[in-house]
């Protein structure tokens, strides 16, 4: 077995096991951490395909930011495990139906004669100085620049609206803007009063 194949099966095995644990782990925090492991191994698989930009972005965005905030929320929730498991049997038929449908769809797409993996020629090996980042950047900012800019605009709108929806101005806050605090001068706060000494009689 080639070393690369070994690495692939190693990463894939950990990834599948971790993904299984995401849905079977009883504790939601453990499940979230297993999801982190899954993402990390998916990044490794992408590295094997010489897509280093995608791999690193997956780790940076999902592992480094999204899952941190996700964990943040999951840790704060007061989750009652018994209440969570209450509706298990009533939800099972619906869930199983959806799962089986998805499985059938995936088998139909990936298996059989439609996908034709054998007919696809293996990608040509790339030169040592090939940079996946450079290639992606070139395509994104030339051929697909309008679609790309549009997508970023949609994200910006989503971001602004998320802030606008959740922003609450609380009344009676005592916090002072730091710029005002820094701008304070002695004259504004201290008043020196000169007065005659009182006679002690």
């Amino acid at each position: 077995m080639e070393f690369k194949t070994f690495v692939f099966y190693f990463l894939a095995a950990i990834m599948v096991l971790a993904a299984l644990r995401v849905i079977t782990a009883r504790n939601p925090v453990h499940a979230a951490l297993f999801l982190v492991l899954t993402f990390f191994n998916a990044g490794g698989l992408w590295l094997l395909l010489q897509a280093e930009f995608l791999a690193v972005t997956l780790v940076m965005v999902y592992v480094g930011a999204v899952m941190v905030l996700f964990l943040f929320v999951v840790m704060m929730l007061d989750i009652n495990l018994d209440r969570l498991r209450e509706g298990f049997w009533s939800y099972l038929p619906v869930g199983a139906l959806v799962g089986i449908l998805m499985l059938v769809e995936m088998v139909m797409v990936l298996g059989g004669g439609y996908f034709g993996l054998e007919a696809m020629p293996a990608p040509a090996p790339v030169a040592a100085d090939y940079s996946n980042t450079r290639e992606l950047g070139r395509v994104l900012y030339t051929d697909y620049v309008y679609a790309f800019e549009l997508a970023s605009l949609v994200l910006l709108v989503a971001m602004v609206s998320a802030v606008a929806l959740t922003l609450r101005k609380r009344k009676g806050l005592k916090s002072i803007p730091p710029s005002e605090q820094v701008a304070v001068r002695r004259e504004g706060r201290v008043e020196l009063v000169k007065m005659q000494a009182e006679k002690d009689d």
Binding site: V56, V63, V68, M75, M76, S131, T133
Partner: protein
């Protein structure tokens, strides 16, 4: 060197690549650990002198064996796992803290060609690995099943995610003007231009055209490593020692090692990205690793200096600095640099 090692390589056969890489890793990690140990001593000494004290001076000549003594003490202490803790994660916490801070050293170049993994996407790799560092703190805080560690880890999560954004923008400016993600190329690109040809390399380094980014990167680096004045994660007055409250012995020492290894990492990265790495500041002196060491030591001194000088920030002020000051500054400077590069006045053609 290659010819000398050839008989050894023949003896080991195909496994030689793995053995040779492992040896190189040891050659990086072992000096790093010694640096970490003596950085703790340097910190206590420097802050001692700044506060007109002597600092540790009892163990060994001039107190030079103090870090060894500290290490031995931590090594022999019992590791206590609280009964309510999530056991596996409690042990995993310190490991998750130290693993990324060591893994990041794989792509750090020490001299021209002297690097463990000379990869194209070195800067991206660093961004990804350093973004994993927060997990050690979060996992430790949650697994301890105690209030202060939990509060500490919540603070850490918010703080590290916030400052990572401005650090990322600073890195984007650097990679824009050097047009490469490879750290060796980034250093070498600072050796070009009018001043470098005149023999004044110090003026052609990135720190002058990117001065605001340089400042933002150093300050964000202090915040990322949870050092004073941004150390609310372990602020004694509020959360005792944050995520480290329940840890003892070697598990506590791992957090300590990770923190100091991260400090050295941020310093060496600042030297590589903004201060010309191993390049000599003037033309008539040769380039070499010693310049990188001097620059890194200077940035480390800044870390200690800041700790001895500034009082701890209030938490909302930390968040304000990260989101409302640094991110707008970096965004504006990113814009300025892109326009500058495209204009006829560009100095990076």
């Amino acid at each position: 060197m290659e010819a000398m090692l050839q008989p050894v390589a023949d003896f080991f056969g195909p496994s030689w690549t793995a053995i040779w890489t492992l040896l190189k890793i040891v050659a990086i990690i072992a000096p790093l650990m010694i640096c970490v140990a003596y950085l703790t001593l340097a910190e206590r000494k420097v802050i001692g002198y700044m506060q007109v004290r002597i600092g540790p001076n009892r163990v060994g000549p001039k107190g030079l064996l103090q870090p060894i003594a500290d290490g031995m003490k931590l090594l022999f202490k019992e590791i206590i796992v609280p009964s309510g803790a999530s056991k596996g994660l409690f042990i995993l916490g310190p490991i998750l803290a130290i693993a990324p801070s060591l893994a990041a050293w794989a792509v750090v170049p020490f001299d021209d060609g002297l690097v463990l993994a000379d990869v194209n996407a070195g800067l991206l790799f660093l961004l990804a690995i350093t973004s994993m560092e927060v997990y050690g703190v979060i996992v430790a805080g949650w697994a301890s099943n105690s209030k202060y560690p939990f509060l500490g880890s919540m603070r850490a999560a918010a703080q590290m995610v916030s400052y990572e954004v401005s650090m990322g923008f600073a890195l984007i400016c650097v990679l824009l003007i050097s047009a490469s993600l490879n750290l060796t190329d980034i250093v070498m690109s600072q050796n070009e231009g009018r001043f470098a040809d005149m023999g004044l390399g110090v003026l052609s380094w990135n720190w002058i055209p990117l001065f605001p980014m340089f400042v933002v990167y150093v300050i964000s680096g202090i915040a990322e490593t949870n050092r004073a004045p941004f150390d609310v994660v372990e602020g004694e007055a509020e959360v005792v020692a944050g995520h480290m409250v329940e840890y003892s012995g070697m598990t506590f020492a791992l957090f300590f090692l990770a923190e100091y290894a991260n400090m050295i990492l941020v310093s060496i990265l600042t030297s590589i990205l903004f201060l010309g790495g191993w390049l000599s500041p003037v033309g008539f002196l040769p380039d070499g690793f010693h310049w990188l060491a001097v620059k890194t030591a200077f940035i480390l001194l800044l870390f200690l200096w800041a700790r001895a000088t500034f009082p701890r920030f209030r938490y909302d002020h930390i968040m304000r600095l990260g989101w409302k000051v640094f991110i707008p500054v970096t965004l504006v400077w990113l814009f300025v640099v892109t326009v500058w590069m495209m204009s006829p006045l560009s100095i990076w053609s």
